[in-house]
Every structure is written in structure tokens, then in C-alpha cells.
Amino acid sequence: MAENGIGAPVRRKEDKRFITGAGRYTDDINRHGQAYAYFVRSPFPHATLNGIDKAVAEAAPGVLAVITGDDVAEAGWGGLICGWMVHNKDGSEMKAGSHPVLAQGKVRYVGDHVACVVAETYAQAKDAAELVEVDYGPLVACTSTADADKDGQPQVHDDVPNNTVYNWELGDQAAIDEAIASAAHVTKVDLINNRVVPNAMEPRAACGEYDPAQDSFTLYTTSQNPHVARLVMSAFIQIAPEHKLRVIAPDVGGGFGSKIYIYSEECICLMAAKKIGRPVKWTGDRSEAFLSDAHGRDHVTHAELAMDADGNFTALKVHTKANMGGYLSLFASCVPTYLYATLLAGQYRTPQIYCAVDAVFTNTVPVDAYRGAGRPEATYLLETIIDQAADELGRDPADLRRQNFIKPEQFPYDTPVALTYDTGDFHAVLDKALEVSDYSGFAARRAASEAKGKLRGVGFSCYIEACGIAPSAVVGSLGAGVGLWESAKIRFSHTGMCQVLTGAHSHGQGHETVFAQLIAEKLGVPIENVEVIHGDTEKTPVGMGTYGSRSLAVGGQAISNAADKIIEKGKKIAAHLLEASEADIEFKDGNFTVAGTDKSKALGEVIFEAYVPHNIPQGLVEPGMEEGAFYDPANFTYPSGTYICEVEVDPDTGVVTIDRLVAVDDFGVIVNPMIVEGQVHGGLAQGIGQALTENCVYDSAGQLLSASYMDYCMPKADDLPNFEVATTKTVCTHNALGVKGCGEAGAIGSPPAVMNAVADAIGTRISMPATAEKVWRALQANKTSQAAE
């Protein structure tokens, strides 16, 4: 292994600046002459927009402009788009509804963008925003995921009848119904996958700038994918041609999906900058984040799992209603379909699966991908219904799972839901998790808990995810509007210093370290001599950004491929310098060597020769040392894992305490085990938050009641146990690095492990989050029913 190469737990190169407060986030960027934007947001969940009188606001101190939907229409801009077409059962296209950059005619959720005030100072903009007189005609709101498509519900979009975006299906319903009818046992569950607010540490922000000399724009923004932002803003919203719009996403403090999408605020900052001839900055506050960052999850599901007399799964039938919120966000349509139903095989050999999904509009914040995106929802459903089946059959939950696992010799395995798993060993993962968790000692631990008046439960979750998103041809056939490859460029200087330009975008993942480790491994360059550059459409090759645990498996492989090209070119030069045949040159640990001899040239010497080619014959190679690669994977990657959770419940209060959480993951080859462990910890915390604490509540009128940290409970350090994490390894077969990705696993695998443990402790399945009162009520109900027996 090269020093600090693949497998080394290298400390993160980027942390010095983050920890010392020297990071450069969007709000840290201040441009000369900058003005400030503040947005007027709808206080109503649903209302007609009868008129906006901006005269008083325009006359207020410091105000430079007030922009409304009329200005956007006048500019001829298009609306915000959904980039993934999903078709109905009858083959017709989904109904996406309109998504104006600023509201036109109607507002559709509390927080919807009505107008933008631009002023000399933030305070003046905020003051003047109160003076914008908006004539709302309040309407009854539609807020229920389960009821949104029923007759008589308020219509969120006039051109989307019954609030139904699509009725989509995967599989053969008639065959499934037959399989269920003939099954020896059928387990049924009704589940809610609760809505969560993403809560990135850094709120969204944007700073727009217009250069009249070049007729071009620059946008600094909190984005996970600056090139995608440029593409959408250019091709669809039509702000400017792509070459006249530079998008820079500098340091970004967390995203979890919420910073993939194109939002009104960043578009309007550009419009305002051109209008007033000065840079315009908007920085969202935490309240605005609650009210306007795309939320996650929000499914209501009925599912049935059929089994034969031996407990072999024979069929799974699922019907899900997925809440899209008030508008269809950028990738919202694919989350409950192609990132959800396709994962319903899980780790199991279930031969037949059918899934129907109805996506509905409601008067709530738009919902889109959030850490895991569809895969946590699939895992929660599957791991709940299997746990319930084990309960009903009196089977050990680990044994029932193991019996139905895809066997190691069955890979590559074609699932009935369109995916082909290339590799995995679910038995090995489960065995390791059982060992680490000391499953055989559970009975004794339960007895010890009972002795002190506590209830103890154990819960399993065996997840699989499709990540490294994704093969362009596959996602294209499924409706994606873009290809999902990744790009990289490796650029050496005369002195052998290395720049890695990547289309992936780090918003906390540690790319500056991990990608440098790849260079150390492949080329033998010390990581301190490697600079990773990302997040600027004018610097990096066109890239697709970071989400879906794709940076390493797709972006990292592109870097690796570019490094191979460096080696190939270097061999030609080295062969000339060493007076050997190119075929005899070997490259290892940063040195080109003539095979079987001690004749060698260091990479640095070869690079210098490439830039100072005094001795290179014409036509051998071009001067310079810079190579690029685009990589489009052949398949998704399939990380998998088994998580085992043990909880203690205080029966007097209903408080759930996680005593143990064992996470065993198969991420394939691991480049930096320390960073991977950190990713797992973060994902586990987020999943535990969804399972136990994050209670996102809309009242029936459509107001978000949990819109601050006083009411929305993020998991805190003392809500979490010391995680016990371990890994197993099957190597990804279709990327040369053998990597799979780890960014979302914790958030995918942990909610069902926690909830199954709660159910095991209290004897009842309750919905997430398992708040103390909900648990206490379930225990009271159990007491009442026991008394009645």
C-alpha cells in the first residue's frame, strides 16, 4: 500500500480550515457593492394571490428593488422543473403542475415565495418586506398524504385533478394477487414513513452577480451540484446561456439532498443583480430553512408479504402514497418510484414483487430526496413487515431473514424489481453482526433490564441500497432527464504538484482527503502535494455533483481512470528517457522502471520532462501532463448491512433509550476507514432522529407547528449510544476500485432496527417517531387489553 493510499485512516485535510473557522462558505463571500435580499413568504398554506402592492415597500429606506412573479413572467423565464419523468399505469405522463420561481396566481404552502425585496442592508430589506402589501384570498388547505387524492379535497394545482401527480406501478398485479391468495401465510402492515426536515448545519444562501461588460452572471450558492444548477438555470429557467452563467458552490455545510435542487432564491438573486447592477446576497435563516428547504420521506403504505408453509417469502405487494408537497421539486418524482420500488427485494429471494405508488400534491413544503432517498422508505417497509412476519410465525427474526437471503453463490442476482445485484454476502454480514452484538447474550441483558424495572427489546434491520448513482443508460430508460456519469481531470505542474479537478462536490464528505488518497495510491504522489478542486463550473470539467453515495464509486473511479492515462503517457516518456521499449516499463510507487532492471525514472522527473520537452522527439507525446476522464458506471453499487439495536424502555414514562447499536456494513473496498466510520455515525444519528425524535407536525390547517428547534427535536449526542461498527467486504465487480459508497447507509439501515427493537420491548408496533408519549400510550393500551382478557 502506498503511504496514505487506499485503506489508510488519514486525518481530513480540510478539517483545519473548518475547525479553525477559516472555511469559506457562501455567506462568507462578500462582493464589492453587494446589496441584500429578503423574501416575502406566504403565511397561508393555500390562497389565491389577488394582487401585490409594492409601492410603499419600494419607497422604504434603502430599498433598491422589489421583485414579484410579474417581473419573472416579464423576463420570460421558465419555471422550476422536475427533471425525472414518471409515467402512469396507462402509459401517460405524470402531471407535474406549474412551479413558478415566484408565486403567480396562488400560493401553495406556508413559506412559498411571493416577492423579493432588495435593499442596501439586510435589516432594511427585512423591514421593507413587511411593507409589501399582498392581497391573499385564503383557501382551505389539503394537508393529508393519505387523503389528498380523495374526492372533495382542496385542489393544489387546478391542472392536476385529485392532486394526483401520478399513479405508477412496477410489477404484475394480477400475478401478485394470485400468489397472495394461494399463500400459506400473509402478513399485512400499514405504515407511515414520517416527514423529516433536512436541517443542514449551514442554511441555504446565494450571492448573484452580473457583469454587463461580458453580459454574464456569477452565482455563489449552497449547491451539491453546481453544473446541474447551471444546466437547469440555463436550459429550463433561461436565465442565461450556459457559457454566460458561472456557478460556484464553495465550502458547503451539509446538504443531505436538500441542496441538490434549484430554488427560487438563487434564481432571484441573479435577476436582482442584473436589475440593480450590483451583487445581491441572500442568506436564509433557520426559520426559512424549516419553511423552504425540501423536506424528506412522507409516505403512507399498505403492504402484504406472502409466505409458504416453511416461511419462504413468495410475494410482496405494496401500495404507497407519497407526498410531494405543494410543487414537484427537481428529483421528487423518482424518489418514491425508481429509488424505492426497485429496492423492495432487499436482501431476499422474494420471487414476485408488485408496487403501486400514488404521488400526491398537498399544501406543504415540497418533498424530495433526503439522505437515502426512497431506499430508507423501502428498507423500513421491508424490515418492518419481515419482523412482523417473524412475530406472527413465532420465528426468530434473524433466522427468518437468513432463510430468505439471496445466497452468496446466486450473485449476480436479478431481482424481480429491475436491479441486478453484482455482489454481496448477506449471511456473512448477519453472522458478524450477531457476533458483535452478542445476540446470544440478549436474554440475560433483557432479564437484567427487567430487574431494574425496564423493558428491553432487540431489533434487526438488513438493508441493501443501490448507490453510486448511476448508469446513464439505465436512468435514462427510467425517465431521468440527465446522464449520471462523473468527470475528473488530473493536472500536474512543472514541479510535480497535482491538481485534481472533480465534478463531484464535497459538502462534508471529505473529498479533499479521499481523492488525494486515490492519487497517492495510483501515482505515489504524497497527499500534501495534491489539491482537490471542485464546485466551480469555470474550473472543473462538467460534472453531475454529489448525492446518492456516488462521489467515490463514480467520481473516484473517474479520477482513477484519469490517473491510468497519466501512467500511460508517462510510460512513453520514461521509455524514451530510459532507452527502453514502452512495453517493458512498469509503474509502481511513483517510479517508472524498466522491468527486471534498476533503471528507473521518478514520476516527477517524467512530468518535468513533459513540461520541458527538450529531449522529447517530435510526435512521441504532446507536451504537458494533464489527463481527464469521464466515467459512466455499468451498474449501481450495492452496499448492504445488518444493524442490530437494543433499546430500554421506561414503562413509567415511555422514554426509549438506545442501549446498543451494532452496524455491520459491506462497503466493498474502503479508502479511508476513519471517514467511513464518521459517515456511518452521522447516518445512524440521522436515522435514529427519524425513528425517535424528529416529529414534523403540520396542523390540519396547514401550518408547520414544528418549525424551530424549540419544537423539532434533532438527535443530540446524549440521545445516542456509543455505536459499535464493523465491516465485511465483497468487492464491487464493475468498478476498478471495487468501492460501493457509504454516505447514506446509516440513515437507511437504522430506523427499522430501532423501531423493531421498540416493538420487541413493548409488544406493539407504533409509528415513527417513537416519542415517549406514543410509547406510553401503547403500553397503557396493552395493559387495558390484557385486563380485558
Binding site: 414514562t653 425524535t693 407547528l705 414544528s706 424549540m710 419544537d711 434533532m714 415517549a772
Partner: protein, 264 residues
């Protein structure tokens, strides 16, 4: 925030006159409620009179039969005070579990009780320990101080200067925190002071209240078992997204028992 004038008086008298001179002035102690309220633009005082420089409002003293705590003493100072931890450990425990470290290092006892948040911890200490609230105008006994949700007996220009806590024979405080804010969903202070038993409940209702049923049960038998039959009515209790009135009523019993068990 809207614009306002800031005053930093050095004495209670100067603070009172600053308020008199303001159109719509507001005293600020630790600012743990006022500042967020201002930031949310939910309050728009003309003047904010910061009591942070008033030295006479700070400090903790052992007065023999009582512990006297200056109004501008922070929760962290109360929690770590030798006097409080040795004489009224239940009060130190309470102060040490308010909010988070940032809140405890800024928030003050005077600010907390003057604000009279129904979910604040200190009201349970004032009433449960039968404290006396001293102001720049008078002294107010515990049972008269809190008059409703965010309502106290304080006049508009009245400043809390200190609180005297008689030393109890035994006292204990337990709370069921709101997991998000760590305010009390239910907090119960039980105390025996001068032979009298008090049980004060915060968080559960619109304002702190005494549970006479619990007090009489404990008067003859100061043990958790004495509270086993305690039935708390949910009729006047709060209901919100964090806890229903029924659940709060149940928690009053659980926390009261735990407070008795923890009492020292």
C-alpha cells in the same frame, strides 16, 4: 430585530429610571427569551435596559436560615455554588438541568421568574421551596408571585433584585424535559421546609401550581409510596404537540414520586 435603544445602567435605581424614560421599555436579564423573541420580531420594545452591569443584583449568600440569590445570578452559578449545593442541593440540581450550557451561562434566576414561562424550571423552585422574591419595591411571597401564563405580580417598573430560599429539611426536583427544547414538560419540586410539605408543579399547566393532594399524602408519610394512589386531573393542563394533558397528568405523578425518592 427591529431597532431599539440600549441602556446599560449600573444600578437598580438607574435601571428603573431608564424604564420610566422610555416609551415602551423592557428590562433584559440574561436575554435567553427576550433576544430570540426580538430576533423573531415578535417583540418591538423602544428601549432595552440591560441589567448585566448592575453589580448589586449578582451573588449568592448564606443568610443562616435561607440562601439568598441575586436576580442576575446565572443558572450555571447557582448549579455550581458551594452554598447552594450544600444547603439546597435540589435547587442546584434544578439549575444545572435548565436548557443547555449556553443557556445556563447566560440565563438568570431573576429573568426566568420575571418571564414566568409556564415550562420554566425555576417557578417550581420558588413555589415548592416557598421562596420570597425581593424587588426594588417590596418582597413578594412565593404563592403570590406567579399569577398566570407569562404573568407575575410584578409591576411594569418593578425589578426583581433577589430571591430568598428558606433552607428545607428535604427537597427534590425531577423533570421530564421536552426533548427538543429541554424546557419542562412536567417538573415537580417536593420539599419539607419548617415542617411544611410543598409540591409544586411546573410545565404541566398554564402556570406553576401546588398539588394539594400530593402535599397531604406526603405530609404524613414523605415517601414515594405515599403517592401511589395519587390521581392528577388533566382538566386544566396543557396539551400540545409534545404531550397531551392526559400524559402530563400521568407524568406529574411519576415525577413527584421520583422527586421524593431523590429528595435529600
Amino acid at each position: 430585530m427591529y431597532e431599539f435603544n440600549v441602556h446599560k445602567p449600573g444600578s437598580v435605581a438607574d435601571a428603573a429610571s431608564a424604564l420610566k424614560g422610555a416609551d415602551d421599555g423592557k428590562f433584559m436579564a440574561g436575554g435567553q427569551t427576550l433576544i430570540p423573541t426580538l430576533k423573531q420580531r415578535l417583540a418591538s420594545p423602544s428601549d432595552v435596559i440591560d441589567l448585566g452591569n448592575v453589580a448589586e443584583l449578582k451573588g449568592i449568600s448564606d443568610e443562616g436560615g435561607a440562601v439568598k440569590i441575586g436576580a442576575m445570578t446565572t443558572h450555571a452559578e447557582v448549579a455550581s455554588s458551594d452554598v447552594v449545593t450544600s444547603q439546597i442541593p435540589a435547587l442546584a440540581h434544578l439549575a444545572g438541568h435548565i436548557g443547555d450550557p449556553q443557556v445556563r451561562n447566560r440565563g438568570t434566576i431573576g429573568g426566568s421568574i420575571a418571564n414566568a414561562d409556564p415550562a420554566a424550571d425555576y417557578p417550581a423552585a420558588i413555589v415548592g421551596l416557598n421562596a420570597t422574591v425581593h424587588t426594588n419595591q417590596r418582597s413578594i411571597v412565593a404563592d403570590d408571585f406567579f399569577t398566570g401564563m407569562f404573568e407575575t405580580a410584578l409591576n411594569e417598573d418593578e425589578i426583581v433584585t433577589a430571591v430568598s430560599f428558606p433552607k428545607p429539611e428535604k427537597a427534590g426536583y425531577q423533570k421530564f424535559p421536552n426533548p427538543a427544547s429541554r424546557y419542562a414538560i412536567v417538573g415537580v419540586m417536593v420539599a419539607q421546609t419548617g415542617g411544611q410539605t410543598r409540591v409544586a408543579v411546573t410545565g404541566a399547566g398554564p402556570s406553576v401550581f401546588r398539588s394539594s393532594d400530593a402535599e397531604s399524602a406526603l405530609a404524613s408519610n414523605f415517601s414515594a409510596d405515599a403517592l401511589s394512589g395519587l390521581a392528577v386531573s388533566s382538566a386544566d393542563l396543557n396539551s400540545d404537540i409534545h404531550a397531551s394533558a392526559d400524559y402530563r397528568a400521568h407524568l406529574v405523578g411519576v415525577m413527584a414520586k421520583r422527586a421524593v425518592a431523590a429528595a435529600t
